[in-house]
Symmetry: C2
Subunit: 148 residues, 2 copies
DNA sequence: GTCACTGCAAAGGGTTTGCATCGGA
DNA sequence: TCCGATGCAAACCCTTTGCAGTGAC
């Protein structure tokens, strides 16, 4: 919980003459307290419970700002062509995480795997170049939907 | 080349009382002759060189129709949040393919790997459920952009 | 001749932007 | 005080939809 996303943002802000506003703090807190992968709209709704005056464009601007600084990740799931979902990047355990999405209940499950490293080096060996990042999403039916 | 996408579509059409129109044929041919992963707009422009009267909505309708029948795949790359790219599904070699995207020249390189199977079974072992599909995109710099 | 498909134009949904104002440092 | 951040409204972009007309079978 918390992932000290607020702290990391603070550091970034101070290093670049930015300002920690009430809106930003609320958005950051919301992002780090919810483990699901909310859309901009969902973040907006959640924050508005605490600050009615917030505007959607502020949410987007904050998310893009975080994205540029590598503090949040952005993802589009297949069944939501034009909608992005956001999640804070956890740097603590050092292990990247990937996603499983249940096409029945739309739940998102995070998982890790060591095999991505194999894939990356296999790719580089065969095609050359440099792999900086990997996005892997598994689609299927989750355990509880399968048994139901 | 060709992947007989037109033939496969024909079969589908005949099985469901559909009609092979000039527009559909041109869209199908364009899709299968170009190996890159075009957007709807790009397909539209290419087909319009041969048929000026074509409308973008026809392109979308055809693409969705193909998608529903499992004849094309749809993908959104990270640097193009709201734009889909389409590619015909090749069933010939039976091996799924994944994508590398160069963030410099935006080229898309397709590759295969046997490790995805490991990841799938690892996931199922740990979390249960059923994995039907995997989407993997590597982001980085391609060989020619690295050496340049 | 039927009915599926098309073109057109308008709407839709998510995201971005210009600008005047606000407020943190 | 100064300048970065916000709210608002309008714009943007990609995609979808309703409807009347067209053309494949």
């Amino acid at each position: 919980m918390g992932f000290n996303l607020v702290d990391m943002a603070m550091t970034e802000l101070h290093a670049n003459g930015g300002r920690m506003t009430n809106q930003r703090r609320l958005i950051l807190e919301t992002l780090s307290h919810y483990a699901d992968h909310p859309t901009a709209e969902e973040i907006y709704e959640r924050v508005r419970l605490k600050n009615r005056a917030l505007n959607l464009s502020t949410v987007y601007r904050t998310l893009r700002w975080l994205e540029q600084r590598g503090l949040v990740n952005t993802r589009v799931f297949e069944d939501e062509r034009c909608q992005e979902r956001f999640d804070p990047i956890i740097k603590e355990d050092g292990m990247d995480h990937y996603h499983f999405r249940c096409s029945q209940c739309n739940q998102i499950i995070e998982f890790s795997t060591q095999y991505l490293e194999n894939i990356k080096s296999q790719y580089c060996f065969e095609y050359g170049g440099l792999v900086q990042k990997a996005s892997l999403i598994l689609y299927g039916t989750c355990a509880s939907c399968t048994s139901a």
